[in-house]
Symmetry: C2
Subunit: 467 residues, 2 copies
């Protein structure tokens, strides 16, 4: 597109030509059908949908390259689409063009048990990958709530409950195959665990939300399944006590696999939805991984002591696998549990991340803010990382009230040295906050975008504006 102005008729005829060229190698896997276009107009957020003009379903990197070449010839935007679970409008086709549905690229290309890594196509989902890893003794550790695709997770730099121990997508992607805006195919990284050989292109594409290129294959790091697992839940007299316990557990080197926080409203919602009987108090869920039952027990006893010192109201061990699973299922279902507070409501889900030293203060201030508002809302967080989510259940007329709340939340997080999103990404929902967060560095992002996508055809309108 660039600076060229195109008439509606010109654009229409470019689309028709493009579709004909795409059909020549994709057949029915290129379509302008209404249903496909609607399905690819949005993720799971409340951001207004935006329809692509065409939808393609490539099956190989080479097909993605050909699609990018067609899009380049006809000046069409391209929006990569995974499982459609994104929360900030990442996949909405703001300027039309081609939605690139990656779900047919879902193969596991190789797994190495010795190197503890795997190469997968971008459209595989995390549960599909988990299934493929059964019986290897290894796991892929990044677990956002949704069954997102690995490519989508890399593109938003997703993390989830185990990031506190095993890292986010930033740490768990070792290398990529990327198709650039002009169709060129590049490979970033190597299969070596580390390298000092030049610019870190892998980390540049991770989190770029498809605005710099399309990931088609990823080499990801795997972790050994723990020999022993311990899970506990503890209510606390105060948010401060819960966060203090987390800080000291990390300082002591207890290296929890998960430490999740739920506020009282969230606990209440979970009790109702998942039929649990947790005390309606600020609550922590702990999981410890170890090389033996004894080592997990030792770690957990130390955590229990810390909790007791900081107003913990009893440390309840889940000793059976079924009990553990019930608890984590309840945690993973918080989205549905919260929605059930106001059936039929729209949900605004937002996340911020702050230095852990400021986390209690941030949560308490956010809860006080919420308590003065007219809609129900819950707080749940990956407290070991300083990352928390707010879910707001809204009637249509409350959207504006929720939007101002979300803006205040970001402002509060930034004032504390945090970030406007810990794991959901920017999309177009949070683009407006990047200037306050990054200042002049946003201009550097713009320079990078222009360097790699001078025509602004790669998922335009997301992260940075260049026109």
């Amino acid at each position: 597109m660039g600076t060229e102005i195109r008439t509606a008729a010109g654009y229409q005829s470019a689309l028709e030509l493009a579709l004909e060229e795409l059909r020549a190698f994709l057949g029915s896997r290129a379509t302008a059908g209404e249903a496909a276009r609607h399905h690819h107009s949005h993720g799971e957020s409340t951001h207004p949908p935006a329809l692509p003009d065409l939808v393609c379903f490539p099956q190989t990197t080479s097909e993605v390259s050909q699609i990018m070449q067609v899009s380049a010839r006809h000046g069409l935007p391209v929006v990569p689409f995974g499982a459609g679970t994104s929360l900030e409008g990442h996949v909405n086709a703001l300027r039309g063009g081609i939605s690139l549905d990656m779900r047919q690229m879902n193969r596991v290309l190789r797994v190495s048990v010795e190197d503890m890594d795997a190469t997968v196509e971008a459209g595989i989902s995390r549960l599909q990958l988990a299934k493929a890893l059964e019986n290897t003794g290894l796991m892929f550790s990044v677990d956002p709530g949704a069954d997102a695709t690995i490519g989508g997770m890399a593109s938003t730099r997703a993390s989830g409950t185990m990031a506190v121990r095993y890292g986010t997508m930033r740490e768990n992607v070792l290398g990529l195959t990327v198709v650039l805006a002009d169709g060129r195919i590049i490979h970033t990284g190597t299969r070596a665990r580390k390298s000092s050989a030049g610019y870190d292109l892998t980390r540049l594409f991770v989190g770029a939300e498809g605005t710099l290129g399309v990931m088609t294959e990823l080499t990801v790091r795997l972790h050994p399944l723990p020999e022993a697992v311990g899970v506990a839940v503890s209510a606390f007299a105060s948010v401060e006590g819960a966060v203090r316990t987390v800080i000291e557990a990390i300082q002591l080197g207890l290296s929890p696999a998960r430490i999740e926080f739920m506020d009282e409203a969230q606990v209440d919602a979970v009790n109702r939805y998942s039929r649990l009987e947790l005390a309606v108090k600020p609550t922590l869920l702990f999981e410890f991984h170890g090389i033996s039952e004894a080592s997990v027990e030792e770690t957990a006893r130390l955590a229990e002591q810390l909790a007791a010192e900081h107003g913990g109201l009893g440390f309840n061990w889940e000793t059976t696998p079924a009990g553990r699973e019930r608890l984590w299922k309840a945690r993973h279902d918080v989205y549905y549990a919260s929605r059930a507070l106001l059936p039929g409501s729209e949900t605004l889900t937002t996340d911020v991340c702050v230095p852990i030293s400021r986390m209690a203060e941030c949560i308490v201030a956010t809860r006080a803010d919420l308590d003065a508002l007219s809609f129900p809302a819950t707080i749940v967080g990956h407290v070991g990382d300083g990352n928390f989510h707010v879910l707001c259940m809204l009637a249509p007329e409350q959207a504006a009230e929720a939007a101002s709340f979300a803006a205040r939340l970001v402002e509060r997080a930034l004032a504390m040295g945090g970030t406007c999103t810990g794991e959901h990404g920017v999309g177009y929902g949070k683009k407006k906050y990047l200037k306050s967060e990054h200042g002049e560095a946003l201009e550097v992002m713009r320079m990078l975008k222009l360097a790699l996508d001078p025509e602004n055809r790669m998922n335009p309108g997301k992260i940075v504006d260049v026109d």
Copy 2:
């Protein structure tokens, strides 16, 4: 510079003007003195030195910005200089210009025990930082052999012996203050542990070797000092057995803090230099960190069993702090121990990194290659990462023989899916290998360099050529 051709007289007069402008705010901290220029013409490698025309010693980010503005006005290259310990010619001023000595920017700006992070100026060395962290219960984990500056370590994406557990500079830098080629100051990252808010500029500058901008401040991650430490040394009947032990230790989740490998030649050199009596066999040094003596003991016993299963010739525990220190000092002194094999020799030190599944094969083939050559050489490695070093002790006439060996080593590593450098960086010594390693992705690096430094004044001639 760009495409402009400048006469020698024109360049000389630009230098004189620049020096005058620099003196106006730096006083005697800007110099064209011979001694300073010589000192800043090289690191610790055998690459031919190249003198800068001027040397500046800034004390603040603002002074660095002013220096960059002067350099921009007069078209002068700028080469950041830390402790001068680099091994691939990173700091050699290939095109003259200004050497930017960062050592006077060596303050610790803040430490947060709760957040386990610190902000430091780029010129602080790792031992200076270690000293500043005494009594905090925290450590900075990245430990290359030399007492490099934190800025230099970030710029080469350094790692060292503890990367297998605590990560490299890639994982341990949370945010940066960077001065761009035109003098603009940007801040990357936040103090939150993770973020999905836009492109990962921090990781773009980490490993860029000063070719995209000058780091002036870094926020780094700290780790809790372990409650208990266990150290052991074990000789093995074969390299394969040693590497197999490492692979299985990692798969079992033993999460060693260090696993270092020394080949027979290295053990022999260490025995002589550090007066040890290790068996002259392929050898592993282990270190385990844990929350108690009991947990370290449990972990170490499992490692001992694994070693016994794979041809380990006895697992010797260092139970006293003095014994542990003696062993690690010997490991850190391998460079001097190897040089003592041929006093007065030049040393070529090179490193590669391969997938761990290929490591034994790569080391064995490399040893066989070395055994056919005319100079003594030792192999030592961070085996948990698949990273190893070769030190070649050379008489002047053996330089060409060593250079072809080094090229074969890289070729071997790349053929195994590895990288031409695991932690030393590219500088200009390894630039020639980047095309085989990265293919078309090297062109993307070039595009990024041009976007951020269109005049190619930031450490020109390193990593990528753009003119």
